[in-house]
Symmetry: C2
Subunit: 247 residues, 2 copies
Amino acid sequence: MTAGSHSPGTLMIRKLESIFHLSDEEKQALRDLPVQVANLKADQDIVRLGDRPSQCCLILNGFTCVYKLTSDGKRQILALHVPGDIPDLQSLHLRVIDNSIAPISPCTVGFIQHKDLRNVCERYPRLTAAFWRETLVDASIFREWLLNIGRRESYSRMAHLLCELLTRLKAVKLVENDMFDLPVTQAELADLLGTSTVHANRVLQVLRADGLVQTKGAQVTIPDWQKLKDAGDFDPLYLHLERSGAE
Amino acid sequence: MTAGSHSPGTLMIRKLESIFHLSDEEKQALRDLPVQVANLKADQDIVRLGDRPSQCCLILNGFTCVYKLTSDGKRQILALHVPGDIPDLQSLHLRVIDNSIAPISPCTVGFIQHKDLRNVCERYPRLTAAFWRETLVDASIFREWLLNIGRRESYSRMAHLLCELLTRLKAVKLVENDMFDLPVTQAELADLLGTSTVHANRVLQVLRADGLVQTKGAQVTIPDWQKLKDAGDFDPLYLHLERSGAE
DNA sequence: CGAGCTTTTGAACGCAGTCAACAATTGTGG
DNA sequence: CCACAATTGTTGACTGCGTTCAAAAGCTCG
């Protein structure tokens, strides 16, 4: 159930191709992209607010999170990224990075130079569209999170997050038997949801008691998808997975 | 102080050119885009969740908001757009619209067909980059709003929103003497901030009492920019205006 | 086995929501 | 231009969701 066994290019191709049909030439161009692989420990920032990077990072294995801090040190996690995602694709067109990105568990990433990405985009305009679309889906998820954090109370909010994770991880084949790995502390869960750690703990306990989720270490099981979906007011439309999303 | 006196193309050019330097040919291509102008009343949806539009809408005059509803009818406003913005540019690459867009005051918009936009993008790759960048800035604003709603308390949250508005409206020359029009009810203000209407009212009163903002009808004045910035924990970096943003 | 992190629990507090009424403003038709 | 209706803004009282602080219990890993 790891995604690390694939070459960097293959991972990108699989993701983009779930939407676009790529020509052999386009696929080859992606496979030929020079990628510099690195293994990172948790909490070791990949990029930091204010950076002006000359490369993007492709997640090969593990999870990363995008976060920001208020001036008094409170952290909000803005996005989670899974293998196949490029969390800082925006840096291709925005000079300065306006957030930080860190692994939430040990993870493997591949760095791709901006100039190489710009090159393939120039030669294959359909790849431009594909990458652009990736950033648009990210934005769509931000919008749903705004609704989630702004307008849903914490119980439903956490249910919604779990729904999204199950759906997204299914799309990259990281779910088996309604079960997936979520190597996240409750403090991080709180930073994802915009609540305090204590409250995140209590809400999680209620979700467990209601039979919406089971946890065992970092392993999360969803015993009743329909009930969780109802609790989380979840509609996968915003993930733009095109082929379904729900069963 | 209206922006309605400009032709649709000119408005786009002015916005894109504040970042990119466009060639005469590129500018002409933008001016030649067929635009269908429409005047809309407030609360008359421009696009609706689930739509599959074949056009984008360019704001020519007035303000629009992007919003979503929870299943129990609570509304969260996800973005505000001002003249020159294209709030549904995403629809160029995402078939289904995942949010709704409505004017918050009577406004004028111009509709541009997807096929025409795709055409200029194909012929002028630098325009592709420029449009892509626009959507990336939108996403950056979503991220900051997530931090704002998730981690700042309501006083600071409202101050931050006012800071952003002043900065963005300045960039499109809609501010005079630290004063701008904000034709928004307090109920909408609450939907922007993720609070109740009553609370939005009370917070606004405190901001007024503290001398951070003055209101007179829809007119907002910021008497002390530094104090408001401090209260709102505001750093304009995320707006990616490149040339400054702050004075 | 002990150090350090993570999870859990309890108690007190407070920010913000809800409900309901009233005041002020805006808009409309006569 | 006024009178009335409708919307918007303001206030008070009460409630409750979620925070904070502090301590205890469980894990994980050298």
